[in-house]
């Protein structure tokens, strides 16, 4: 559920990631799903006429809010942008299992452990939905996995921060998953069909994650003074990195316009960040926790909260590999992949043996 895939300046130029609105998030996902069905139901000719300009046809389909499907003609840059964005999104889900996975064995109760296990398993599932969506664009799973292992494709920088206490699991659910949902709900309306459908599925499951995080924080914040302090400490550490998940400010965002025109991206980074802040303020009040921003206040004129921007220099440092856990995350992923090799080989050998037997029986 971590869908923003901007890159650091100097990285291969491509397009910015996702975008999303906030209030009544599940409602918006439902609305996107209904819209997808409605768009599919709208009468349209089946495809471009034999002598029609394919680029014009593509633009017409996108402008009509209809979906581009895998075997349709599409501009090469559209394909590349989507591959990069969907892959980065998938990698984020996979790497995103690590910070929370650290706490599975130390969850404070069997119930919390079972819930956290289910959540981490969901993240793996989200990664797989997204890899499958990327593969429809003509890149193989092996290539995608290798691009991550080689460090040639990125994952969300948020996962390069450590989870120091149990309260961090709560803060990740509330803030990180919350920011990711705000980023991702608009992706449910993405012009590329397989991505839009995967995102609808992901967002529906994500809302459980956000609520479980919120519940953890709420329980801690209403517990002993030590538990309250632990919850506040987690929010203090995760607040600004969560704001940074929306990417650089609009003025510095290099590849938004084209993604907007292609209806891959639908809202600017700053719009989404604002939406997230506006959502969180009231939720923090109910928690009884303080958002660590002395300048956070309601702006009557803008009908939105004024807030302090995250440290974008830090964001760029983390994206470039200098965050607290970049090396650890990649080392862990590489080791997990290498350690799983014998399982893949054994399964393949077993499948080959059985196929062989069937052939002999048939012969």
């Amino acid at each position: 559920m971590y869908g923003n895939d901007f890159s650091a300046p100097g990285d291969a130029p491509d397009h910015a990631p996702d975008d999303a609105p906030g209030a009544g998030l599940l409602g918006e996902v439902e609305a996107a799903e209904a819209e997808l069905r409605a768009a599919a139901a709208r009468q349209r000719r089946g495809g471009p006429a034999p002598d029609e300009d394919l680029a014009a046809y593509f633009t017409e389909v996108v402008d009509a809010e209809q979906k581009i499907e895998p075997r349709d003609w599409m501009p090469e840059a559209y394909r590349r942008t989507l591959i990069r964005q969907i892959a980065q999104h998938a990698h984020s889900e996979i790497i995103g299992m690590q910070p929370e996975g650290n706490w599975i064995s130390r969850a404070p109760s069997l119930k919390r452990k079972a819930i956290l296990l289910a959540k981490v398993q969901d993240e793996a599932g989200h990664g797989l939905y997204l890899y499958a969506a990327a593969e429809t664009l003509g890149i193989s799973r092996d290539e995608l996995v290798q691009l991550l292992l080689d460090g040639r494709q990125k994952y969300s920088s948020i996962f390069n921060y450590p989870t120091l206490s149990w309260a961090d699991v709560g803060a990740i659910g509330w803030l990180v998953d919350g920011a990711a949902i705000v980023n991702q709900v608009p992706l449910c309306r993405c012009s590329y069909g397989p991505y839009a459908r995967a995102m609808i599925r992901v967002c529906k499951e994500e809302s459980f994650h956000q609520r479980q995080g919120y519940e953890i924080l709420h329980t801690l914040a209403h517990g002993t003074p030590e538990q309250l302090a632990m919850a506040q400490d987690a929010v203090d550490r995760w607040w600004y990195p969560s704001l940074a998940m929306f990417g650089p400010p609009d003025g510095d965002s290099t590849h938004s316009a084209q993604s907007m025109a292609w209806k891959i991206k639908r809202f600017s980074n700053d719009d989404l960040r604002q939406r997230f802040v506006d959502m969180c303020v009231q939720q923090a009040e109910v928690l009884g926790l303080r958002i660590p921003d002395d300048d956070l206040r309601w702006n009557e004129e803008r009908q939105a909260y004024d807030y302090t921007q995250p440290d974008y220099d830090e964001l760029m440092q983390v994206i470039k590999g200098n965050g607290p856990c970049n090396r650890e995350r990649m080392a862990h992923r590489r080791a997990a992949h290498a350690d799983g090799a014998w399982v893949r080989e054994a399964a393949a050998a077993y499948a080959a043996k059985r196929a062989d037997k069937r052939e002999k029986v048939a012969a």
């Binding site: 000719r45 089946g46 495809g47 006429a49 034999p50 499907e69 075997r71 349709d72 003609w73 289910a118 398993q121 969901d122 599932g125 797989l128 939905y129 499958a132 593969e135 193989s140 799973r141 092996d142 996995v145 995967a198 499951e205 893949r344 080989e345 399964a347 393949a348 077993y350 499948a351 080959a352 059985r354 196929a355």
Partner: protein, 95 residues
């Protein structure tokens, strides 16, 4: 997970008794049995299905989008296949 050893499978799930199997996505697996198990873990974690089909993606033959129009044209001029084509005289019941 090598593509060579772990081909792509398309997954179809019957959500409830009385509904048809619907395509839900795809996955990699070395054989049909593991494809089924992976499909269960990936696509029915929330009781989304009562039955799963897995089909090797390579075994599916698809029509080409380039010939969408000509391929489906033969159906375009046969409006009489739809019941709404016919005028029903006033007062006829059960038709």
């Amino acid at each position: 997970m090598s593509n060579e050893h772990s081909p792509l499978w398309e997954v179809f799930v019957r959500a409830r008794r009385g509904l048809s199997h619907t395509h839900v996505g795809s996955l990699h697996a070395p054989d049909a049995e593991l494809a089924l198990r992976n499909a269960r873990d990936l696509y029915t974690r929330r009781q989304e299905g009562v039955s799963i089909w897995v089909v090797p993606a390579g075994a599916i033959t698809a029509s080409s989008p380039d010939e969408k129009d000509s391929f489906f044209d033969p159906a375009a001029d046969k409006v009489y296949r739809h019941p709404t084509f016919y005028e029903v005289p006033d007062g006829v019941a059960h038709l």
